[in-house]
């Protein structure tokens, strides 16, 4: 290793928080959070395969108040990960990297995630005949 002490570039705590930083770490945390959603999908499939009794237990837990709160959080997590993910795919092509456009696509990703989440839940309640 080099023995000279070179100046290091300023690390995370030096910078004032901005949307780009928040969305970058949010993409990672929602990725980890959405993995929990994948776990629930597998649980559901295993319950369906195991028979009507297991499925009714699954349905009881996931449609309980706590279950709905957790599922709503996971839906939001998945939708935000999806929208920031699409934004990352756009940035991978070298587009939307200037400050102004980057901020606009960031806000767009958040708004789209909220709209998609609410849309899915309203549709689910409508299909279930609850509204």
């Amino acid at each position: 290793m080099a023995s000279t002490r070179r100046p290091l570039s300023p690390h995370l705590q030096i910078w004032r928080w901005g949307l780009h930083m928040a969305l970058s770490i949010a993409h990672r945390t929602t990725g980890v959070g959405s993995s929990l959603g994948a776990l629930i999908i597998v649980w559901g499939l295993v319950a369906i395969a195991a028979g009507p009794d297991s499925f009714s237990t699954f349905k009881m837990v996931t449609t309980s108040l706590l279950g709905r709160i957790v599922l709503f959080g996971i839906t939001l997590s998945m939708m935000l990960h999806m929208c920031t993910g699409v934004r990352h795919l756009v940035m991978d092509t070298g587009r939307a990297l200037d400050i102004k456009t980057n901020r606009q696509t960031g806000i767009l990703a958040i708004v789209a995630a909220i709209v998609l989440t609410l849309g899915l839940w309203v549709a689910a309640y409508w299909f279930a005949g609850l509204i």
Partner: protein
């Protein structure tokens, strides 16, 4: 011998693992496939809200649904494996714990994916 080489020459001599680009590309390709399959899945689950057990069995048994569900589970867990791998590589400091975590991650995601796929096939082929 290495004493006569500068640190940068040593690093260059080692070369790259030649696997970085593959991980990067697989993460993005699985992301696009996930985008399509999960939107289909979310729409299906929403339209099945309030459906009974028999309706759901009927849905899973449709050959197209069976195939899409198997693809979704495989693709989703491969994407999760790649994503969580980077998180572990970034935050786990010790080499030993890192290697162990990565092995565990591979095993857990593989087992969960197989559980999901076998369950779908059991329902689909079950009498």
């Amino acid at each position: 011998m290495s004493k006569f080489r500068t640190p940068i020459a040593t690093a260059r001599g080692l070369g790259s693992a030649r696997s970085g680009a593959r991980h990067w590309m697989h993460q993005r390709v699985t992301a696009v496939i996930n985008l399509l399959l999960l939107l289909w899945f979310a729409g299906s689950v929403v339209s099945l809200a309030g459906a009974g057990y028999a309706d759901i069995i009927w849905w899973v048994r449709d050959p197209i649904v069976t195939v899409l569900l198997v693809l979704l589970i495989a693709n989703l867990f491969y994407h999760i494996r790649l994503g969580l791998q980077v998180v572990i590589e970034d935050y786990v400091k010790s080499d030993g714990t890192k290697a162990l975590s990565l092995i565990l991650l591979t095993m857990v995601t593989l087992v969960l994916a197989l559980l999901g796929i076998v369950s779908v096939l059991k329902v689909s082929f079950g009498g």
